[in-house]
Amino acid sequence: MLRHISRTIFATLLALSVLGHPAGAIAASDLTLYRALGERPGLTALMDKFLDGLLADKRTEPFFGKSDHAHVKLMLVDLICDVIGGPCEYAGEDMTTSHEKHAITAADFNALVEVLQVAMDQQGIPVADQNRLLARLAPMHRAIITRR
């Protein structure tokens, strides 16, 4: 019985995932994620918690401790707002330029992801929206991780 049900589920899911996935295309007019994250005030509050977390975590503190915190926060709000299709334009350095001076490993990158996940939990963001945001940010690993 279970085998027959799961056979149907798998066929459906595979068909959906192959046919229906937008392959990363983000419509410029799609503001649903921006709105779900509370627009600019929500993103600012999230980045407050995120930066607090980055400074409190001994794995990430070395990368952010000496930075201009207010500037970093502003850049992060602009960057995230921009990549999720919000009405902002990120004007800071591109990800490669801003990270190439640092030795950043995959473990460092994942530590930052974990701190962001905790900040999103604290902000009360539903898991599905957390993952939608992470999906837009995670591919930056190619530019950010400098030590492979």
Binding site: R3, H21, T105, A107, V113, R136
Partner: protein
């Protein structure tokens, strides 16, 4: 000398390695995101419960080395299986795993009614599995805006010790040792909180190897390709629910038919629905409801084997 001797040696080495790692927690690899190394499959390789995935197990990401140890129990109407083992992940690229399975084959006593096989009461079948997996390309988790999966190839070398069921395997003309080859593709569709895995296994195994490999019937002693699928939905980064479906060969049924036993030796596909929970980076628990279909249904009143699966994994 038992044929499984060298695997036993490898197991002791793996256990010694585990103890060394546990004793030096400073060396613990924790670079991977929680649950992204999968859980331990019954054969030891990282993946779902019944099938390996393309992920490299343990918490070790690029540049790190990590280990896991697992114990798993599956219990159905007529049988039970215990699996324990360990895996080592190297630089998120290479995985080596070892598992010992102990299969409670008590119903096999009924085979003595068919022929004088000399099967002992409460007999167990033991199997050792040595696994090696190599990630060829792709990043299952972080490359979330493309559809390119992480792809790995692997082998599972299996040696079965049938004990007093040796005469039965001889009757089936099934060998006691063989190697499965597989290729796996895994992708996390993070935008949808959905993980998909497909594995193609090239195998001769009867019931995963517990009833030996191949059979003495025309065309039934060859390797065949068997697809395996898993899907998981992330309810939280520490909690996933999902399902698996694993196609299996059916090498033995024809022999049973020729011996006038009908479908007594039929083998079915396996499937399960599961919940995996990782309360910490170092510990995960997986519970599942499995449907293993018929396992020598001729000695279990023809009923399908369904039941519970519980697995604990420690990672360091």
């Amino acid at each position: 000398m038992k044929p499984i001797r060298y695997l036993a040696v490898a197991r002791h080495l793996a256990l010694a390695g585990l103890v060394a790692c546990i004793a030096t927690p400073a060396a613990a690899a924790t670079g991977k995101l929680v649950l992204t190394g999968g859980v331990s499959s019954i054969d030891g390789a990282a993946g779902g419960g019944l099938t390996p995935w393309a992920v490299i197990g343990t918490n070790a990401t690029d540049g790190e080395i990590g280990g896991t140890a697992h114990v798993t129990r599956v219990s159905t109407q007529d049988y039970a299986l215990t699996s324990y083992g360990a895996a080592l992940g190297y630089h998120n690229k290479f995985e080596i795993s070892i598992a010992r399975q102990n299969f409670d084959a008590s119903p096999a006593i009924a085979l003595n009614g068919i022929a004088p096989f000399g099967v002992k009461r409460g007999e167990n079948i033991e199997m050792d599995v040595l696994g090696v997996k190599y990630r060829i390309f792709g990043e299952a988790v972080l490359d979330s805006l493309n559809l390119i999966p992480q792809v790995a190839v692997g082998i599972e070398h299996k040696q079965v010790q049938p004990n007093s069921l040796k005469s039965v395997l001889r009757f089936l003309d099934a060998s006691t040792s063989s190697t499965d080859f597989y290729v796996s593709a895994t992708k996390l569709l993070l935008e949808h909180s959905l993980l998909l895995n497909g594995t193609l296994r090239i195998t001769k195994a009867n019931q995963n190897g517990l009833l030996g490999f191949g059979a003495g019937a025309q065309g039934k002693d060859k390797y065949t390709g068997q697809p395996e699928f898993s899907v998981a939905y992330l309810l939280h980064r520490t909690l996933a629910i999902g399902a698996e479906y694993r196609f299996k060969p059916n090498n033995l049924e024809i022999l049973g038919r020729r011996a006038g036993l009908g479908s007594a030796l039929r083998e079915d596909d396996w499937s399960d629905v599961f919940v995996a929970w990782a309360p910490s980076k170092h510990f995960s628990l997986t519970g599942a409801y499995v449907d293993l279909g018929g396992i020598v249904p001729g000695i279990t009143r023809k009923r399908d084997q369904t039941g519970w699966y519980l697995s604990a994994q420690y990672a360091f």
